[in-house]
C-alpha cells in the first residue's frame, strides 16, 4: 500500500531558488540531492551527495561528491560542476535575475571546482545559518547543469534530480505523484514505492476526505482535535510550532512613540484570553520571538499577564487620554477574533481600537514602499526557519519601511544580528540572540501571541516524517509502520 496524502497548495515553481511554498520545498528536498541531508525528524544532518565535507577554515569548506550519482531523465552523472552551477545561481542570479531565495545563500561567496567530484565552498563570512537554511534545505538542491540549460524556463515545471524520489507525474491543481528513484545511490533510499499528493487547499475538506478513507495523512485545524482523537486506526500528531504571531506596535506613530503607552497596551492585552478565544485553546502562548526548541530561545523571558492597574498607572503617567489606534490584521476568522479581544481589552483602559481587516493581497503589500508607516497596531503572522538569524532579520533598522512594521530601529540590535550571523559557537550565538530578544522586550514594540501548533492525522499503517517545525515534510522517510 502506498500513501495518499493531502497538501494545501499546488506546485508553483519547482526551481529551488524560485519556489513559492512548502509544497515545492518538500518535493524538491526529496527529489534532489543536497550535499548533506536532514536526518529523519531532526535538524542534524549527514552526508548525502557529498562523500566528505572538510572544514579548511571558518570560511572555506572542501567537498567531495560520491561517484555515480545519476540525474533522472538521462542527464548524466552529478559532478562538482553541477554543484557550482546550482549554487552560483544564488550568487549571480539566473540570467541576471535575482532568485527569490537568494538570501538563503547570502554567506556564500563562490564555489570553486577542484576536480570532477571535488570543489570548495568559499564563504564571505563565518555562517551557521548557511548550512541550516541554505545547503540542507531545498535551496541547497543540486541541479543538473545540463538539464537546466536544456530546459530553460521549463525548470519551473520539470524537476530533474538524483535524490531518493522522483516526480513521476504532476497534474496541476489536482495531484502529484512521487515514486522511488531506482537509480538513487545515496544512503537515504525511499521507504515506500509511491506517494500521491492530493492538492486540497481547504483543511476541512482534507480532514473529511481522511475520514472518508481517501487519504492516509493530512493536517487539520485545532478545533477538530477531539474528532481526530476518536477516529479508528488513526494516529494524531501534535507538533508545537516555531512560527511567530505577534501584535506589532509602530514606535514612530503618534502617542505610540511613548514607550509607556506601549507598555500599557502590553499590560492591558490579555494574551491568554486570545489563546482561548481566537485559537480555541489549542496552541500555547508565546513570550518571545524565538520558539522553544530553536537556538536562542529565551526561556526566562517575562510573561506579561494582564494587569489593568499597571496599564492604567502607566497611561496616567503619560497624561494622555482618549487614545484611539488602528488595529490592522488579515481578514481571516482567527485574526479578527484576536482583534476583537484586543479591542475589548483596551477599551477597559480607555483606549479605542478601530479594526482594519485586510485581504492577504492588500495586507502583504504593506511591506513595500514604506506603506507600513501609517500602521499603529498590527497583528503579524510570520513563518520561521530553523536558524534564529532568519527571524531576527525582520526587526533590523534596514527593514524599516519594508518588513519592520514596528519601525523600531536599534543599532545595537543590528550589530548583534550581524554578530549572530557570523558566530559559529552555539553558546555564544545563544547568548547573542537572547540579548537581542531582551532589546525587543525593552522596546515594548511586540506583544507575542503564539508560535502556533500543527496537527496531523495519519493512518496507523503509515509513519510520516516531519521536521520539527511541522511544516517541512520529509517524503523520503515516509514509511510503513
Amino acid at each position: 500500500m502506498n500513501p495518499v496524502i493531502a497538501v494545501d497548495a499546488d506546485i508553483g515553481s519547482l526551481d529551488p531558488g524560485n519556489r513559492v511554498g512548502t509544497t515545492e520545498g518538500n518535493i524538491i528536498r526529496s527529489v534532489c540531492q543536497t550535499l548533506v541531508r536532514f536526518e529523519p525528524g531532526k535538524l542534524s544532518w549527514s552526508n548525502d551527495a557529498a562523500k566528505e565535507i572538510r572544514q579548511v577554515s571558518d570560511t572555506e569548506f572542501e567537498f567531495e561528491l560520491n561517484a555515480g550519482q545519476m540525474f533522472t531523465g538521462d542527464f548524466g552523472e552529478m559532478t562538482a560542476e553541477d554543484v557550482k552551477y546550482s549554487f552560483d545561481r544564488y550568487i549571480n542570479g539566473d540570467n541576471g535575475k535575482k532568485l527569490a531565495y537568494a538570501d538563503d545563500m547570502e554567506a556564500l561567496k563562490s564555489v570553486e571546482i577542484t576536480g570532477k567530484y571535488t570543489g570548495k565552498l568559499i564563504l564571505k563570512h563565518r555562517s551557521a545559518a548557511l548550512w541550516l537554511i541554505g545547503i540542507c534545505d531545498a535551496s541547497g538542491a543540486i541541479l543538473s547543469k545540463k538539464a537546466c540549460e536544456q530546459l530553460g524556463d521549463k525548470i519551473a515545471t520539470t524537476l530533474i534530480g538524483s535524490g531518493p524520489l522522483l516526480l513521476k507525474e504532476w497534474r496541476p491543481k489536482e495531484q502529484f505523484l512521487l515514486a522511488a528513484n531506482p537509480d538513487y545511490k545515496g544512503p537515504f533510499k525511499a521507504r515506500v514505492g509511491e506517494i500521491t499528493g492530493k492538492i486540497i487547499p481547504e483543511r476541512r475538506t482534507s480532514f473529511l476526505a481522511y475520514q472518508a478513507k481517501e487519504l492516509d495523512f493530512t493536517a487539520f485545524d485545532a478545533d477538530q482535535l477531539d474528532t481526530a482523537k476518536t477516529l479508528p486506526d488513526t494516529d494524531v500528531i501534535d507538533i508545537a510550532g516555531v512560527d511567530y504571531t505577534w501584535i506589532g506596535i509602530n514606535v514612530q506613530k503618534g502617542a505610540l512613540a511613548d514607550v509607556k503607552v506601549r507598555q500599557a497596551i502590553r499590560w492591558a492585552i490579555d494574551v491568554d484570553a486570545i489563546i482561548q478565544g481566537a485559537y480555541a485553546g489549542a496552541t500555547s502562548r508565546a513570550k518571545t520571538l524565538l520558539a522553544p526548541g530553536l537556538l536562542g530561545n529565551w526561556a526566562d523571558a517575562p510573561l506579561y499577564n494582564r494587569d489593568l492597574e499597571k496599564a492604567q498607572a502607566l497611561l496616567a503617567e503619560t497624561g494622555l487620554s482618549g487614545l484611539t489606534f488602528s488595529f490592522t490584521c488579515l481578514n481571516d476568522a482567527t485574526s479578527l477574533a484576536v482583534a476583537q479581544i484586543a479591542q475589548a481589552n483596551l477599551a477597559e483602559v480607555g483606549i479605542t481600537l478601530n479594526i482594519n481587516p485586510m485581504d492577504s493581497g492588500a495586507y502583504w503589500a504593506l511591506g513595500a514602499d514604506n506603506a507600513s508607516k501609517d500602521l499603529e497596531l498590527t497583528l503579524i503572522p510570520y513563518t520561521s526557519k530553523f536558524d534564529p538569524s532568519f527571524q531576527t532579520q525582520w526587526f533590523l533598522g534596514s527593514q524599516v519601511g519594508l518588513w519592520n512594521w514596528q519601525h523600531w530601529n536599534s543599532p545595537e540590535f543590528d550589530k548583534l544580528h550581524q554578530q549572530g550571523v557570523e558566530t559559529l559557537e552555539k553558546a555564544q550565538r545563544e547568548a547573542i540572540y537572547i540579548e537581542m530578544q531582551k532589546l525587543l522586550d525593552e522596546s515594548a514594540s511586540c506583544i507575542w501571541i503564539t508560535h502556533g501548533r500543527n496537527f496531523f492525522v495519519d493512518a496507523s499503517w503509515l509513519t510520516p516524517m516531519l521536521l520539527p517545525n511541522g511544516k517541512d515534510w520529509q517524503f523520503e522517510y515516509f514509511d510503513r509502520a
Partner: protein, 321 residues
C-alpha cells in the same frame, strides 16, 4: 436573397456585439483590478519580497508599463490567442486555464441538467394540482432548496454519502481517462450546485405553466375535448419553458460563479477556484484570461438560448414574441 442578407446582417451584428461585450467586460475588470491594493510579489513571497524582486516580478508581469500600454498589449495578444506566460511556473496561461475549464464546464452542465431534470417535473406536478397539499409540500421543498446555502449542502452530502455510507468520493475530479471515476467525483458537487436551481426552476415552471394553462388557446383545446395530458405535454409545457430557457443563459453564468464555492470545498480543479486564488494572489494575467473565457462562454450560452427560444416559440423568431 433579401432574407439571406438580413440573416447575414443579423449574425454580423450579433458577432460585433459579442466582441464588444467581451472587450468591455474585460476592460472593466482590467481597470477594477488596478484599483485593488496589493501586488503579486508581496503575496507570493511575503517578507522575502525584496524591492529588487518586486521590481523584477512587476516587470515580468508587464505591470511597470502604463495602463494604456498594458491594455494594448493585452488585447493585441488575446487577438492572437496569446495570454502570456505565468510569472511563477513559466507555463503558458492559456494552458493553465484550459487545464481546468473542462472540469468547470462538466460541473456547470451536469448541475444544470440535474436542475432541469428534477426541477421541471416538480414544477409541472405542482402546477397540475394548484392549492393542493402536494403543491404546498413541493413549494416548501423548493424554497428549502433555494434557501439552503451551497456550503451547508456540500458538507451534508460529504457527511452522508462520503463519510457515512462511503458511496462517493470527496475530493478531486477523478482519474483522467477513467470516465466512471470522473462521474463518481462529479455527483456530489453537481448535486450541491444544482439544489438551489432545482428549487428555482420548479417554482418558475409552476408559475409559467399556470399562466399558460389559463390562456385562451388552452381553453379552446379543452373545449375541443383534447386530453389534459396532451394539453400539458404537447402544447402548454413547451410555451411554459420559454422563460425557463431564457434564464438558463443567466443560470449558466451564475452556476460558473457559484462553482467557486463547490470547487473549493470539493477540492475540484476549476476556473472558479483558479480565479479566486488568482485574485487573492493578485495574479492579474491569469484573472484576465479567466474573465475572457467566462465572458465568452456566457455570451455564447445566451446566443444559444436565443436560438432555442426561437425554436420553442415561433413568435420570437418572427419578432412578435
Amino acid at each position: 436573397m433579401i432574407k439571406a442578407q438580413r440573416t447575414a446582417a443579423f449574425i454580423a451584428s450579433r458577432l460585433v456585439s459579442v466582441v464588444l461585450t467581451i472587450a468591455g467586460a474585460t476592460l472593466l475588470l482590467f481597470l477594477m483590478m488596478r484599483l485593488v491594493p496589493g501586488d503579486f510579489a508581496s503575496v507570493m513571497l511575503g517578507p522575502r519580497a525584496t524591492p529588487e524582486l518586486r521590481v523584477q516580478i512587476t516587470q515580468a508581469m508587464g505591470l511597470d508599463r502604463s495602463i494604456p500600454e498594458q491594455l494594448w498589449l493585452f488585447f493585441s495578444r488575446i487577438a492572437t490567442g496569446d495570454f502570456g506566460v505565468d510569472v511563477v511556473s513559466n507555463r503558458p496561461i492559456l494552458d493553465i486555464v484550459m487545464d481546468v475549464i473542462p472540469n468547470t464546464l462538466a460541473l456547470a452542465f451536469s448541475a444544470l441538467a440535474l436542475a432541469l431534470l428534477v426541477g421541471i417535473p416538480i414544477g409541472v406536478i405542482a402546477a397540475l394540482k394548484p392549492g393542493s397539499w402536494l403543491d404546498s409540500g413541493l413549494a416548501l421543498l423548493s424554497i428549502s432548496f433555494i434557501t439552503t446555502p451551497t456550503l451547508v449542502v456540500s458538507v451534508a452530502l460529504f457527511l452522508v454519502f462520503a463519510i457515512g455510507l462511503h458511496w462517493l468520493p470527496v475530493a478531486g475530479a477523478g482519474e483522467p481517462g477513467d470516465t466512471i471515476d470522473q462521474l463518481r467525483h462529479l455527483i456530489l458537487p453537481s448535486v450541491a450546485l444544482a439544489l438551489g436551481w432545482i428549487g428555482y426552476i420548479s417554482r418558475l415552471v409552476r408559475a409559467s405553466l399556470l399562466d399558460t394553462l389559463a390562456e385562451l388557446h388552452v381553453r379552446t383545446l379543452r373545449a375541443y375535448g383534447v386530453s389534459e395530458y396532451r394539453i400539458v405535454g404537447l402544447y402548454s409545457l413547451k410555451l411554459a419553458l420559454v422563460p425557463i430557457v431564457s434564464i438558463l443563459g443567466i443560470g449558466l453564468g451564475e452556476l460558473i460563479g457559484s462553482s467557486v464555492v463547490v470547487e473549493i470545498i470539493f477540492a475540484r480543479p476549476g476556473i472558479g477556484s483558479l480565479i479566486f486564488n488568482s485574485i487573492a494572489q493578485r495574479n492579474y494575467p491569469i484573472v484576465q484570461a479567466c474573465v475572457v473565457f467566462i465572458v465568452t462562454f456566457y455570451i455564447i450560452a445566451n446566443l444559444m438560448v436565443d436560438m432555442i427560444n426561437a425554436l420553442l416559440d415561433p413568435r420570437i423568431a418572427a419578432g412578435r414574441g
